[in-house]
Amino acid sequence: MNIFAYEFMQRAFIVGIALAIIIPLIGLIMVLKRSSMIGDTLAHTSLAGVAAGLLIGFNPIVGAVVACVIAVFAIEGIQKKLPKNKDLGMAVVLTVGISVAGLLTTYIPSGVNFNSYLFGSIALVSQNDLILIVSIAAVILLVFLIIAKDLYLLTLDEKMAKLSGVKVSAINFLFTLLTAVTVGIAAKTVGALIVSSLMILPAACAMQFEKGFFKTLLLSVGFGVLYTISGLFVAFYANQRAGATIVLIGAIIFLIIVMVKWIINKIRLGKLRRING
């Protein structure tokens, strides 16, 4: 059974790899900014957009993107009003988003599979979805590459970034917008409930290699692509959900890296002790 003989799997690989390139880029910055929570908030809120799309009859991916962008504005607005409790903005938007999704789903006609958006349905990506997702992913990648050095400075030290001429507010906002759109387009394929895992795991693996910022970015993308390709193969032949399989493979790879690193450190320490008598 040749996996590439199926058109839906060809589309799954193209969309999966496109997402596997952009999601870890956004994810590493989020991890370094210690704002991983925003990924989860947007992912849950995207479900409200998906439900609206299914109910009204427009593309749920567009709905997810719009919901995420609205969520970003709402988070920024609440954070400005409550600067001392910044995480409250995310918590409020997350609960409102998931509640709206919950309400809307009761009106979705039976036969429409809303659940596939929770855990992803990469094999059900249509030709139109493919064009939409790959085009948006290309724009996200381009914008990210243009602002990568601003993001490096901003993530490293916001005050210093300001002194170095980085337009901190604008770059912060642009990055949050990129995050919103990324989560939005990934909701259908990877699954809204697991997209944030795909943001965090490649970054977590890449950081174990203790390289510089730009090499860590590249490594994150490498891990994202590795998880996706292996996840799609395993999911196809084991007849499992692709999104969940991709994330579980990521988690297994992370555990292997941590264990190997721990063993290597133990061996090195033992050698040092022997040398020092």
């Binding site: 370094l32 050095k149 005050k159 210093m160 170095s164 203790e210 510089g212 910022f213």
Partner: protein, 222 residues
């Protein structure tokens, strides 16, 4: 020639008085140490010099221009207190970190050319860290990290270098080494250096100008 002139500057955080009518002249090429215990207002004074805080009264001139009208902030480099702590744990190489100081000079695409790379090498060589440029910053010792941050501050060839307690996390020999390096930079490049510190011994050995901040007043010691 005076590069910084402070006249009768006072500062209060609401009702808490920190500085009371202090005056100070800093000349070109000075290596000035501001001594004082914790909480005496050393960092406050430096923040006033950097225009981050406005004095309650008094005047400050930088290069003969009133601080309110002063625009040439690129002539001044600043190394903040606990600057290494901000970077600790962040995946960055020494080269990336020093290169980030050139951000303002880079174009839209922000790619380093040969001149930029040479300047990075020169700045690292100046602080004796040229062999560490591909190393991870977080893996260096406290003294080495301070030297890298110093190289980062020096890459733009500032006329004035302001350092807020750069030796607070260093042992005595590393502190002495950093002070010696700063003295060398001051003498060779004519850079005016202002450093706030607790280390009286290092200051006495290396600085040509020493003041002591105590009980809201500034006292000239050398």
């Amino acid at each position: 020639m005076s590069v910084i002139s402070i006249k009768n500057v006072s500062f209060s955080y609401e009702t808490h008085h920190v500085l009371d009518r202090i005056s100070l002249e800093v000349n070109k090429g000075d290596f000035l140490a501001i001594l004082g215990s914790n909480g005496t207002g050393k960092t406050t004074l430096l923040k006033i010099l950097l225009n981050e805080l406005k004095p309650t009264s008094g005047t400050i001139s930088i290069f003969d221009t009133d601080i309110k009208a002063f625009k040439e902030w690129t002539k001044i480099a600043y190394l903040a207190q606990n600057a290494t702590a901000n970077v600790a744990g962040f995946p960055t190489t020494v080269h990336e970190l020093v290169a980030s100081s050139l951000h303002r000079e880079l174009g839209f695409i922000k790619i380093l050319n040969k001149t930029h790379r040479d300047r990075i090498d020169k700045a690292l060589a100046l602080v004796g860290m040229e062999d560490y440029k591909n190393r991870l910053f977080a893996k260096l010792s406290g003294g080495q990290q301070q030297k890298v941050l110093l190289a980062r501050s020096l890459i733009s060839n500032p006329e004035i270098l302001i350092l807020d307690e750069p030796t607070s996390a260093l042992d005595e020999s590393s502190s002495q080494a950093l002070f010696s390096l700063l003295k060398k930079i001051s003498l060779e490049n004519g850079t005016t250096i202002i450093i706030s510190t607790h280390s009286k011994a290092c200051s006495n050995n290396n600085c040509n100008h020493i003041v002591n901040l105590d009980d809201e007043r500034l006292k000239e010691e050398r």
